[in-house]
């Protein structure tokens, strides 16, 4: 069994700073991490490895420094790491990214065996689109299972997988045929800590590195900025809210508390009382 996990190296959003003078994002010195959602995907893959002895390949598209994230994936227990890097990929949106990744997945399939499952996180914390996973699935003609909270059963012989999917209305139990692309929800598992041996071999490992030509991309207009119809129009730093929260007394009967709450609201937003009154009058008259 072969599983591929797509991971992305992202800036640690908890440590991102906006330059106080120029108002641009200060990338220098901001630590990078594996997109946290991808870790749930990786752990799920490693669990399948534990159960079925699957081999797990981590795939990442990014600058050469993204090899650090791949090395980390190896430390957790992945068997192989592939970095897809090329300056032609710079500025890729989700369309161009899913194209490049699907080409890399095709080569991975040819070199190391066709994957039964391709995992991704549900989305990244820098782009937040949740489009790349489904994009890969549709390009490669894989069944897709998105927002998965649990893998209930994997039957390799029958080539079937059963999962739980969180939906707005409740939990759906879905079954489909392999091969499949699964995007994992957050908080579905806890990432393990690799052993000494895994950590040492990860530190030593050669990261397989491919460029656009290596994965058979001939039409470079499908890559990077040129292959990306999405345009970033503007970047701005949200200004911190200056208004403060207020705690309304929780003493007394329900009516007292409700009155206190309404008084506080009216005091904060003077127009509301008149507005409500006007509407009430309008309604009843």
């Amino acid at each position: 069994m072969h599983i591929v996990v797509c991971i992305k190296q992202v800036p640690d959003s908890a440590q991102i700073r906006v330059h106080p003078v120029t108002n641009t994002i200060m990338r220098q010195g901001v630590p990078t991490i594996i997109n946290p959602y991808d870790l749930f995907a990786l752990e799920e893959a490693l669990r399948l490895k534990d159960r079925f002895g699957a081999s797990v390949t981590a795939l990442c598209m990014g600058p050469p420094t993204a090899s650090e994230s791949l090395r980390k994936a190896l430390t957790f227990g992945a068997d192989r790491a592939v970095l897809l890097t090329d300056r032609y990929f710079a500025g890729s949106d989700t369309l161009a990214t899913s194209y490049a990744l699907s080409m890399a997945l095709t080569r991975i399939g040819a070199d190391y065996g066709t994957p039964e499952i391709v995992f991704t996180g549900k989305q990244t914390i820098d782009g937040d689109t949740a489009q790349v996973g489904p994009g890969i699935a549709s390009r490669l003609g894989l069944n897709q299972l998105t927002y998965i909270s649990r893998i209930v059963e994997t039957d390799l012989d029958a080539g079937r997988i059963t999962v739980e999917r969180r939906a707005e209305t409740g939990t759906q139990v879905l079954e489909t045929r392999l091969p499949v692309l699964v995007t994992m929800l957050e908080a579905t598992n806890t990432m393990r800590r690799g052993t000494v041996e895994q950590a040492l071999s990860a530190a030593r490992a050669e990261i397989v590195t491919w460029n656009a030509a290596d994965v058979g991309i001939e039409d470079l207009t499908k890559c990077g900025l040129r292959g990306s119809p999405t345009i970033v129009k503007k970047v701005f730093a949200p200004t911190a809210r200056t208004d403060k929260a207020e705690i309304v007394s929780n003493e007394g009967s329900a009516e007292t508390r409700a009155n206190a709450l309404i008084d506080a609201l009216f005091a904060r937003a003077p127009g509301v009382e008149d507005d409500l009154y006007a509407r009430a009058v309008h309604h009843y008259v």
Partner: protein, 437 residues
Amino acid sequence: MANVEDKFDAIVVGAGPSGNAAAYTMAREGLNVLQIERGEYAGSKNVQGAILYADALEKIIPEFRDEAPLERHVIEQRMWTMDDTSHTGMHYRSSDFNEAKPNRYTILRAQFDKWFSSKVKEAGALVLCETTVTELVKDLTGTVIGVRTDRQGNPIYADVVVLAEGVNGLVGQRSGLREEVAADSVALAVKEMHFLPRETIEARFNLKGNEGVVIEAMGTITKGMTGTGFLYTNEESISVGIGCIVSDFAQSQVSPSELLEAFKAHPSIAPLIEGAEVKEYAAHLIPEGGYKAIPQLTGEGWIVVGDAGQFVNAVHREGSNLAMTTGRLAAETVVRLHRLGEEMSARNLKDYETRLEASFVMKDLKKYKGIPALLHRNKGTFFGAYPRLISQAMQTWFRVDGVDKKSKEQAILRNFRQTRTLRGLIGDAWSVARAWR
């Protein structure tokens, strides 16, 4: 899977300046080196003011200026003694420091250490991050033969373990090689990074280009405790911090953050950081016990470098250069023994201590061996009474108020005598002179 391949020539515990210096030096000489760091990456747990003294690094990586992330080279040193409203300063500024190869730099450790670590990797060492060495593994004779980590799995073996684990020396302690660091020989320093546009920094400190200023301050800012404050100019930020001996904090019950807030609000400091945005807050321990606090440095299969060996010259605010130098010297000893095919025995590793004795490290620490105890014993005098007396003397001297100069002189002397007595003054001078020798 712990096969023969996993026996290393040397394991270095820690990726600070001393560990990096040791790992780099050994790896460059062809040794099979494993460096283990508990932080997510080298530098992620490391905190320093920070000043980089070029000389120590130059002896390891001569061309470092071309690549290392450096902030500003220091052209001016300000030494201040402060009371609550004033400072008396001795400043030394020289354009000689605008040389092709400057002598001192301000740096940001998180960035600098990452670079240093990349050089360690380039030199061929294996660097294992997010892994904590929990204890040393010994054979039946007590010889250290490897380390155990917080990861599941077998121990990792090596001919020698270089303990570059930092001030607390936890691995050494757990392995029975050393005592816990005494609370009166370690300082707790807290610092903040204040971001300001570079033009503002340059205007406030009268700087051009990458020139930088360092302020080291002592006085009532430490509220009677043994300690110092500092302010360093970086490229687009200012590092401000203050630190005192841990046992003094315990005794005074003053909180470090309170101390830093007061220091920042001091009329001599506040205007320098006005309008800045605080982006980072950090705290760290600094070994300040000096020569007398140095633990056992070598044993069967192990060797101690950097802060773990208490190698800090508190008087001159030097530490990272001692760390790099001790790391390099330890590595040179290991490389030599390795080449000769000699054992990493306690006896053979003593060569490191001989190298230390011959270097500025031990010479300086020996020179000032009496200072830490002297300052600590008389902290009220040196960090309270004298700074106040000096400030009052300056105020009396410079204020023009119709009083004749002779009377002013007498008033100043009287103030000194009344506060310290003549015997006290002579005693203080004598003990400082003796400790300084």
